[in-house]
């Protein structure tokens, strides 16, 4: 493969525009969908920006997700991969360990189970909207709407008291902030785990009708494992959907024609959610995997031991798969996007996230038909330096 431009040194994060991945990634994709990239520790690995290639890698179990094999695509967090993995944190495990944990949980996240939560999610959404009305404009939509809805839902599902949210939201914010020091990250993990271990002990004594109690009573996992599983679900369950709700609303507010479709046409909502997921690709760094053996992908020979970092954002806008992918078009067929990943690690919580978004966006836009930004769009603070992309705050009026 010829290299017209010098290889990238680490994965780019700085964006030219709020809703588009860094232009550099699109340029690289158009040049070569699989190309060399130098990692933060000097490792000569790969950058994957093409749709077909990213999908093929995610579906291929010859690529591992184990942290001790990974090189870090960004200067931050390299050392974290060397820490021993928290037991039960199956996002970072390969089969057969991964399979064991995933199988214990998938029954709780089926399409049917998630549908049964609809009435309760409606209720939670309406009560947040009532509170916004009571408190009056202006409001920070992240604080008043985007964060509380998924936090409440995952707390109720897991059986984590919502009153404790300040504690876990603070720790979780440290974890996803790429600029947090190693000491702070380590302390936040320990703090969250000791909180969750306490909760596990409580559920063992007084089991309730929630997922954590069910797992405790199932008796297949140790307290350590239960802590790791709960940690993963708690963080993945609220940081992600919260950022989709915040950034998605911001995107709609700057595209009034698209916003009107989501507000006025109930039949368009399901697809609009897929398009927002595709267009915004909030998992903006990676996933990163490491080849366990030599694998050829898109004409490139990836050697055993080499890391590959995907850009889901660039893949989701690959013109070979989504025509005019740089435009937000809530009526385009958007299924097949990679925003929830692909392969055996594809998001466990995706059917929950879909239902939350399908309910929350139209409810917000119908309650406040005059919803608008309270500051110029360029002043909305963006989460470029967080593991999950989105907005830090979204000041709105109605």
């Amino acid at each position: 493969m010829t290299e017209a431009t010098p290889r990238l040194a680490t994965f780019p994060l700085a964006r030219e525009r709020a809703f588009d991945p860094p232009d550099e990634l699109a340029r690289r994709r158009d040049e070569a969908p699989v190309q060399r990239m130098t990692y933060a520790d000097g490792h000569e690995g790969w950058l994957v920006t093409g749709y077909a290639e990213a999908r093929a890698i995610l579906a291929d179990n010859r690529f591992s997700t184990r942290p001790e094999l990974l090189h870090s695509p960004i200067p931050q967090r390299g050392e974290f991969n060397k820490e021993p993995l928290t037991p039960g944190f199956f996002l970072r495990m390969d089969p057969p360990e991964h399979t064991r944990y995933r199988r214990l949980l998938t029954g709780q996240f089926t399409v049917r189970r998630m549908k049964q939560l609809e009435p309760r999610i409606h209720e939670i959404t309406e009560s947040r909207l009532d509170a916004m009305e009571r408190e009056g404009a202006p409001s920070d939509l992240v604080e008043s709407f985007a964060l509380p809805i998924p936090s409440l839902v995952i707390c109720e599902m897991l059986g984590v008291p919502y009153e404790d949210r300040e504690k876990f939201q603070r720790d979780s914010a440290v974890l996803v902030n790429l600029d947090s020091s190693m000491e702070d990250v380590r302390a936040a993990v320990q703090d969250l785990l000791s909180y969750l271990h306490g909760l596990v002990a409580l559920k063992a004594k007084e089991p309730d009708d929630d997922m954590l109690s069910g797992l405790v009573m199932g008796g297949e996992l140790t307290t350590e494992e239960l802590g790791g599983v709960a940690l993963l679900l708690l963080i993945a369950g609220h940081e992600t959907t919260a950022n989709m709700l915040g950034l998605g609303t911001f995107a709609l507010l700057t595209n009034p024609g698209q916003l009107a479709v989501v507000r006025d046409d109930p039949a368009a909502v399901d697809n609009a959610v897929e398009e927002l997921l595709r267009h915004l690709s909030i998992v903006h760094i990676g996933p990163t995997r490491t080849a366990l053996e030599d694998v050829e992908i898109g004409g490139a020979l990836i050697r055993a031991g080499e890391s590959v970092t995907l850009s889901l954002g660039a893949a989701n806008r690959d013109p070979g798969r989504f025509e005019g992918g740089d435009n937000l078009d809530v009526t385009r067929p958007a299924h097949g996007h990679l925003s929830f990943g692909h392969g055996i690690h594809q998001c466990l919580g995706q059917q929950l996230a879909r239902i939350e978004m399908r309910i929350a966006y139209p409810a917000l836009l119908r309650r406040f038909p005059n919803l608008r930004l309270a500051v110029p769009a360029r002043e909305v603070p963006l989460r470029s330096k967080m593991a999950i992309y989105g907005v830090h705050r979204l000041p709105v009026l109605w």
């Binding site: 579906a59 029954g107 089926t110 097949g336």
Partner: protein, 64 residues
């Protein structure tokens, strides 16, 4: 058209049940795929193919 599902590969992501609930369901127990109608009417062909495409684990296939 005959649908084959390999529950051993399935990771319970639910893309099949989301795409075509008349044909695919998930077990209450471990969330793996349950095929409700292994030989659906030809009119559902495109939707079945889409579900097969969307399945993240390669658990689904179709025989003509």
């Amino acid at each position: 058209m005959k649908i084959k599902a390999d529950a051993g590969r399935c990771v319970g992501a639910g893309m099949c049940a989301l795409t075509l609930p008349q044909v695919f369901d998930q077990s209450e127990d471990d969330g793996t795929v349950v095929v409700l109608d292994a030989e659906p009417p030809a009119a559902l062909g495109p939707a079945v193919n889409r579900a097969v495409q969307l399945c993240p684990s390669g658990a689904l296939s179709v025989e003509e």
